[in-house]
């Protein structure tokens, strides 16, 4: 009886998880399905199957320009935020220093502030200084809100690191620099990569902060938002679906590489 109940509770949670993922993916599947819709202007009702949208992903005006901007901004912001955030995580995770709680507060505050306030306050400052919003201001804003997420992710990884591994390296006459290069960094690399992935996805998907600080520069979420008023072209669905699959493939390949490395 106890066994049967255990089996049931185990599978109940699995069934529940499948339902949870279904909920998460219904709109993604819908977006994917309607990327094949034979629609000319608004993509609201099903008008038959076609590959035309996928053959011509840049067919809608400005959509590929917006996507290119989003990718560029995402890559630059991720690179800067990952480096700065990892450095802060190291300082917090590895050193005792004065003003630690103040630093913690400064990292926590951007996460505890709604995006709307972050975006609006940045725009207010840029306007006060007569700085025209555009590509650079978007990157500045994205780095700002990504740093905290990188710090938190990498710090958790540092905290879970077994200190004996580094001690062993030191015992084997590796100096601090070598220990860092051969032991600490490789052990942290997956955590840093995870943080970078999170930063990129946050940047790529950001709309609210971007909308305040973008001026005339278009990004993919902004393109979707603006064109939704006139009827969304199916190309938006194509790009949304394609980015989803590309991200999935990149991450899964990364997983395979990591597993291989562990084996060897």
């Amino acid at each position: 009886m106890r066994k049967a109940r255990r089996w049931f509770s185990r599978n109940l949670i699995r069934i529940y998880a499948v339902m949870g993922f279904t909920y998460l993916f219904i709109p993604v599947l819908y977006t994917f399905a309607f990327s094949f819709n034979n629609s000319s202007k608004s993509n609201l009702v099903w008008r038959g199957f076609t590959f035309n949208n996928w053959k011509n992903p840049c067919g809608a005006p400005d959509v590929c320009n917006a996507l290119g901007n989003s990718i560029k901004i995402g890559l630059i912001a991720t690179a800067i935020a990952t480096v700065l955030g990892t450095m802060i995580a190291f300082a917090l995770g590895r050193y005792a220093f004065k003003g630690r709680s103040l630093v913690n507060l400064l990292i926590f505050l951007p996460m505890a502030t709604p995006e709307l306030v972050l975006g609006a306050s940045l725009l207010t400052m840029f306007l006060n200084f007569g700085f025209n919003p555009g590509f650079v201001t978007i990157v500045i804003a994205h780095v700002m809100f990504c740093i905290s997420f990188v710090v938190v992710t990498v710090k958790a990884r540092i905290a879970s690191l077994d200190p004996r591994l580094e001690q062993a390296a030191m015992d084997l006459y590796a100096d601090e620099r070598e220990t860092f290069r051969r032991i600490t960094f490789p052990l942290l690399a997956p955590g840093i990569a995870g943080a970078a992935l999170l930063a990129f996805s946050l940047s790529f998907d950001d709309f609210i902060i971007t909308n305040f600080n973008s001026g005339n520069v278009n990004t993919f979420p902004k393109f979707v938002y603006i064109s939704a008023e006139r009827g969304l072209p199916a190309q938006a669905n194509v790009i949304g679906s394609a980015m989803f699959f590309i991200a999935l493939i990149v991450v899964l390949l990364g997983q395979v590489v990591q597993r291989r490395r562990k084996v060897s």
């Binding site: 998880a17 998460l24 300082a91 400064l106 400052m125 979707v224």
Partner: protein, 295 residues
Amino acid sequence: MAFLSAVSHKSDESEKKRSFLPYLLLLPGLVWLFFFFLMPILTLVSTSTKTPGLGIGEFDQTYRFANYWDAIVNSRGQFFRSFEYASIATIMALIIAYPLAYAIAFRSGRWKNVLLVLVVAPFFTSFILRTIAWKQILGGQGIGFKFLTWLHIISPQSHLTASAFAVVAGLTYNFLPFMTLPLYSSLERIDPRTMEASGDLYANAFTTFRKVTLPLSMPGVVAGTLLTFIPAAGDYVNAEILGNPQTKMIGNVINARYLQIVDYPTAAALSFTLMVAILIMVTLYIRKSGTEELV
């Protein structure tokens, strides 16, 4: 945290000599946050007491603190609605995400990393695209709506979109990954042996969950609820796409004041009020839940 003190004990000597190193590591990131987070917030505060000047979009500093009173009185309904919607969405997201995170942490075997990626993957479809997709699925012409009427769960005359229900559902949906990830990372850190021990001591599954798993996962619950509640309270996209004029949230008011009406002082006063209100709630919540190790 015990580990940290262990490490700093070991290298106490070398640390004293190079105590500037941590500051060097902190400097670039903190400079960035100083100039692009703190300074903007200060600018926001200073803008909030300005009054309209001669030209359009020009404002003079007159220290008119009554801006706050006017702004809050005019939008108190939207303020309360935002906190109400965000609270319901946070609770819903917790109910949906907890078993999900639990299943990924303890029941997914070698699929763990893949499933974790799947939680974040929808970000790449863009949340606006997905919110619009929900609007179309649940709209009068959508397949979801037709399916539900076919099942006789709802009547064909009813409305699912353009309602408070749709806005809350959209908020729940959009911030689900922010709830799931912290829950997962605190669940994953739990030693499964603690749960086994509880079973050995004749606790049933429910008692084990209530007395062992849940308390140990509290840091994740706190982090997840914060990461859901805060953005949900300031959101305006869900209310705009899935709502109607009666479901406007404070975010819609601030956004309109800034970008359409160009009334920066009122928008700034509302933004700063929202920020302070959220910070007060967050502080009380963290105090009450007793987890200070958020960052």
